[in-house]
């Protein structure tokens, strides 16, 4: 449908937007995650709650005392996967890269849930014997970590930052250099530049490596070849500076890693970059190549939409 920008939408068009159903996968995810966050135990008036809490504390102390004297009891854990109907999470194992396309993607690792945002990717470094270790390669991701038993661990590496889970629900995002950690429930421990600090519920902190480290550590061990070029280019683009340098880096990636894992991203961002640099002809050329090489991605629609504003699409 061609959009007429010179005419505000009429009543019928607006209603059509309002009456459309949302993506079933999104609806299922909302229900699923909300069920996970359901407070356990029936809410009762405060006085009773306090009384119950005191009783629970005593009982807890007694149980802890008994537990210390014997083997830790095995805890019944509800698996996260079955609740999702239309977008059931995949089960990820060590070595896998969970890469989201145009839509976010869910995956279970052991019994924990990872939600990878559109165009983000996460690599599973380790998933065995209760130990999970992940690397966020790009974009943002959210983690719902089930209760960890004594011998278990859940760690996330993002750039030069290591996040160790102490409690439960958090999200991370990276632009390739700096990392943002936000905790919605519980607490995580973050190690950055050798310094360890806790991020508590409701907090969101940004961790950037020192300037001297940024240049030397732009490539992480185990990264796909050329990752650092794309990463650095995206950082420059997101800062809105040195676009020429960013274009050079993306072109370099394209010439050195034509079939690389970030070939699509490099071409897509390069096309947008050329538009921002007002090189419409070059942008059209790149968009045509993008369509030829990656015909099935909805990024083509995004490029069409952007190109529409500078003239006819290729």
């Amino acid at each position: 449908m061609m959009l007429d920008l010179h005419r505000p939408p009429n009543e019928e068009e607006l209603r059509r937007l309002g009456s459309g159903a949302i993506d079933p996968g999104t609806a299922a995810r909302i229900t699923h995650h909300s069920m996970q966050r359901l407070p356990r135990g029936s809410p009762v008036p405060w006085a009773q709650t306090i009384a119950l809490a005191s009783a629970s504390l005593c009982a807890g102390l007694l149980v802890s005392f008994l537990a210390l004297r014997s083997d830790p009891p095995s805890r019944e854990v509800t698996p996260l996967a079955p609740a999702l109907a239309s977008s059931s999470p995949t089960t990820a194992t060590a070595g896998m890269v969970i890469a989201a396309g145009e839509e976010s993607r869910d995956a279970t690792i052991l019994r924990h849930l990872v939600q990878v945002a559109p165009h983000a990717s996460v690599r599973v470094e380790r998933a065995a014997a209760g130990q999970v270790e992940l690397s966020v390669l790009k974009g943002s991701s959210r983690f719902a970590v089930e209760h960890l038993r004594e011998h278990e661990g859940f760690r996330v590496r993002v750039g030069t930052v290591l996040i160790e889970v102490v409690g439960t629900r958090f999200d991370v995002a990276t632009d390739g250099i700096c990392s943002v950690v936000g905790v919605s429930e519980g607490r995580v421990r973050v190690t950055s530049g050798g310094v360890r600090e806790a991020v508590s519920q409701g907090e969101r902190k940004t961790f950037c490596p020192p300037e001297s480290v940024r240049h030397g550590l732009s490539a992480h061990p185990g990264d796909e070849p050329g990752t650092e070029l794309v990463r650095e280019a995206l950082v420059l683009i997101s800062a809105g500076k040195e676009l020429e340098e960013a274009a050079t880096l993306l072109e370099r990636y394209r010439s050195e890693h034509r079939e690389g894992v970030f070939a699509e991203d490099a071409l897509f961002h390069l096309c947008i970059l050329e538009l921002r640099r007002a090189n419409a002809a070059r942008a059209r050329e790149l968009a045509a190549e993008f369509r030829r090489r990656f015909p099935n991605t909805t990024r083509n629609e995004t490029l069409d939409k952007l190109l529409k504003h500078v003239g006819s699409t290729p």
Binding site: M1, M2, L3, L5, H6, P8, P9, E11, E13, L14, R15, R16, L17, G18, S19, G20, A21, I22, T26, A27, R29, I30, T31, H33, S34, M35, R37, L38, P39, S42, P43, E102, E103, S104, P118, H119, A120, G139, S140, R142, A173, D175, C178, V180, S184, R204, T206, V235, I237, S238, A239, G240, I272, T298, R299, E301, T302, K305, L306, H309
Partner: protein
């Protein structure tokens, strides 16, 4: 459609009750969040936050008829917080610009351009104008329903709607003529 007994089931802590509650209201909350200015990823997170708050405070919901209005009040606050946080994060640059770019490419087919353009335009209006347009013009609610949801007198709703429509029209036409900032781009 209001399901009788749902509130009681939720208050009693029934898992199946909560699942029905989330299924019944999750999509609506997501759409509110989307049209009130959040990206699809943020809207999904906001919907979960709203439902988590609802689950904690279900005892403060007076009755089944009031669920929508009660949830809408929570959604308003959660969306306002999310937009404020996003503003701070944008101020610090980094990360969000990448997320926004991803969100731009993440949407349902069909009235894609129109939806993005309407959402962009609503985002530029004041919250009280945007919400009245979303409830009445996008969702097609009556003046009385909207008044109940917003806890405003129906007369105020009518006058605010008139101003909001005018603001939307001005914003839309202004964006259309501003070649440097095309509608639909973040």
């Amino acid at each position: 459609m209001i399901e009788r007994g749902l509130l009681e089931a939720c208050r009693a802590g029934s898992d199946s009750g909560w699942r029905r509650f989330f299924d019944a209201h999750g999509s609506q909350i997501y759409k509110w969040a989307l049209f009130l200015g959040l990206s699809s990823f943020q809207a999904e997170e906001a919907a979960q936050d709203v439902l988590a708050i609802a689950a904690r405070r279900i005892h403060s919901c007076p009755n089944e008829e009031a669920i929508s209005s009660w949830l809408y009040q929570i959604t308003r606050r959660v969306v306002a917080n999310a937009r404020r946080n996003a503003w701070w994060r944008r101020l610090w640059k980094r990360v969000d610009s990448i997320e926004d770019q991803a969100a731009l490419a993440h949407h349902a087919p069909g009235d894609l351009d129109l939806e993005l353009a309407v959402r962009s335009c609503l985002r530029l209006l004041s919250a009280r104008h945007a919400e009245i347009l979303v409830l009445m013009d996008v969702e097609g609610r009556s003046r009385e329903e909207t008044a109940q949801l917003l806890r405003l007198p129906p007369g105020t709703v009518a006058s605010r709607l008139r101003v909001a429509r005018e603001a939307f029209r001005t914003q839309w036409l202004g964006s259309a003529t501003d070649a440097s900032s095309p509608i639909g781009q973040p």
